[in-house]
Symmetry: C2
Subunit: 204 residues, 2 copies
DNA sequence: AGCTGCATGTAACCTGTTACATGATTAT
DNA sequence: ATAATCATGTAACAGGTTACATGCAGCT
């Protein structure tokens, strides 16, 4: 089975839900579209890792509530102890940053500024979620054996990293400003030098 | 064209190289295997974004040194100003962390400890690289218009984030320890309570 | 009247990985 | 001897995205 399968086991192991809801839950864990999730759920159910209950609804379409089986829980538990493969990060921002030397100052600043805006937005949203979890379970009441522990610490991780990145962005903006100032000063000095040269040329 | 194509333009725009070398250069920017890179290079060359020079070698296989064309540079410059799509992060570690509530303390600690080890290793390696760049170009001599600026600030970013993650890992280890202590204390208290109950039962 | 959310599914396509193929040189 | 590095390429497969398909309820 592939990693998406384990992500599904991990989510359903915490609480049963429909494929539709899984799409949302997996967003932070292992993003996948419904077109990838539905066929895999069917396959995993056939392999005995999951089971589902058909729920008929009147005002909404019917749904299947999936839950993890004993076999599924065992499979997940075994996998969790194996060492994880290296993370894969693909971010167009890196490539654009790598190429800013061919761009101008305005574009460069905009690229960084937009990044800050996005990060600040997501951090604010996540902070609300963290506060909700702490409110519901108590800041110190969250133990490793709690179902909510993993989610809680992962939210914390992401916010710490995002805040560090915001700080890095500001450092970069400063670097650009400082370089501009240096150039400006250099320009003035060159200007003065020219006057001196002109003066000296005039004198001598 | 896809993002890998822009990553290639970005790398070759800094300095020409062979497809073989590109695999290594792209590792930090947009990881790809040679089987994906070679056909794309051929395609991009046909589209006039790249050109190559055939270099014959005696002790090694012949190679093609690709470089960016004027059209390629223009294409890249235009793309850089468009806003980047959201980053994609896929990390098995997240799923394992999310599932540790079904695991025991030993496994949980090992998972975090292994993460710390990996991070510390890569941070150390990267620090060497940062030092090398600073040595070669001067800590303040690196301006936005320098070819090395992007790489320099990206290395810095990664190290900052990795160090923040190490700190987060230690915070999690502390949380686990603290919870254990609480449980231990609770255990002792329950024990004492039992004695009191036993005592009181004896007296009355 | 048109959009969003709920809910599941399939088909076509693009992206990325693993494996196959070749072959000389250099280091362990 | 055996593995790693240099160097390029293709084929098969797995993973992931976009688009097609349906239909009702509630909101603007």
């Amino acid at each position: 089975m592939n990693t998406l399968g384990y992500a599904i086991l991990s989510s359903l192991g915490r609480n049963p839900c429909s494929g539709y809801q899984l799409v949302r839950y997996l967003e932070v864990l292992w993003p996948a579209k419904h077109s990838q999730i539905y066929p895999l759920l069917t396959k995993m159910e056939k392999n005995g890792l999951l089971e589902f209950e058909h729920i008929e609804q009147t005002s909404k379409p019917d749904k299947k509530i999936y839950s993890i089986t004993e076999k599924g829980r065992e499979t997940l538990e075994k996998w969790v102890t194996e060492l994880p493969s290296d993370p894969i990060i693909r971010d167009e921002f890196f490539i654009k940053i790598y190429s800013i030397w061919l761009s101008n100052e305005e574009n460069a600043k905009k690229l960084i500024q937009d990044r800050i805006s996005k990060l600040e937005q997501t951090v604010a949203l996540r902070e609300e979620n963290i506060a909700k979890i702490e409110q519901a379970h108590g800041k110190n009441g969250l133990e490793m054996t709690s179902k909510h522990f993993g989610g809680y610490i992962l939210f914390n991780r992401r916010n710490r990293l995002d805040e560090e990145e915001i700080s890095w962005c500001k450092w970069v903006l400063n670097l650009i400003e400082k370089a501009k100032l240096n150039n400006l000063l250099l320009g003035i000095m060159v200007g003065k030098l020219n006057i001196i040269i002109q003066d000296t040329t005039l004198i001598y």
